[in-house]
């Protein structure tokens, strides 16, 4: 199974600033997802980040607000731009093991925006 790490694990940020979250995987993976989990809600998919192509965003999420980079098969970043308190959430990255069709998740980044 893939081992995923995320940085930072948590942060408290001021309104209007931006935060970049890093996701590092211990093996090469093609498919990677970024999710958001707001308090009391289920996981919501933000975008699919496949290496070699532009990220594909889900309805309600746009590149200007959540730019994503995927420079290689083991790394990705998600930036939360121009933050507001409504962006306070846990942000998770996941990867897909295509041989078993199983998603593995990182530990998450807990973001609080004041």
């Amino acid at each position: 199974s893939a081992v995923i790490s995320q940085k930072p694990s948590r942060d408290i940020c001021q309104r209007g600033t931006s935060l970049t979250i890093q996701c590092q995987v211990d093996s090469q993976v093609t498919m990677m997802f970024w999710y958001r989990q707001q308090p009391g809600q289920s996981l919501t998919l933000i975008a699919t980040a496949n290496q070699g192509s532009e990220a594909t965003y889900e309805s309600g999420f746009v590149i200007d607000k959540f730019p994503i980079s995927r420079p290689n098969l083991t790394f990705s970043t998600l930036t939360v731009s121009n933050m507001s308190p409504e962006d306070s959430s846990i942000y998770l990255c996941s990867v897909v093991d295509l041989s078993t069709d199983t998603q593995y998740f990182g530990p998450g980044t807990r973001l609080t925006v004041l």
Partner: protein
């Protein structure tokens, strides 16, 4: 719209009690079904999954789930829970479509918080 619902948001049980957590989804096409668990302070991890074949699937730690296509359900069960089963349980569904096939995108239920008293 495709959706996943979990009926029990908070469940409290005593050790050795039986557990059943409900999960229903809204789509009549091909689905791939998952249950994930998140223990306190840990990552989400896969409990079990169903893609095809025997509708009764067994997962880790004595959990099992039954896919009932006619009821659009995938309920999670365990005959005898332990204190260590205290966790958040999530049902997730991948909805295959004609256009996208299996895109591995998951739609998630709200989760069920299970507390097992020793």
């Amino acid at each position: 719209a495709q959706s996943v619902s979990q009926h029990n948001h908070h469940v409290i049980l005593s050790e050795a009690a039986s557990l059943e957590l409900g999960c229903n989804y809204s789509y009549g096409g091909t689905v791939n079904l998952f249950w994930y668990v998140q223990y306190p302070g840990q990552h989400l991890q896969l409990l079990l999954k169903y893609f095809s074949g025997d509708p009764l699937v067994k997962g880790i730690k004595g959990f099992e789930a039954e896919f009932i296509k006619s009821k659009f359900s995938f309920n999670l069960r365990k005959p005898s829970v332990q204190w260590s089963d205290t966790a958040e349980y999530f049902c997730a569904v991948n909805f295959e479509t004609v256009n996208a096939g299996n895109n591995r995108k998951l739609i998630w239920g709200l989760g069920t918080s299970l507390a097992v008293n020793p």
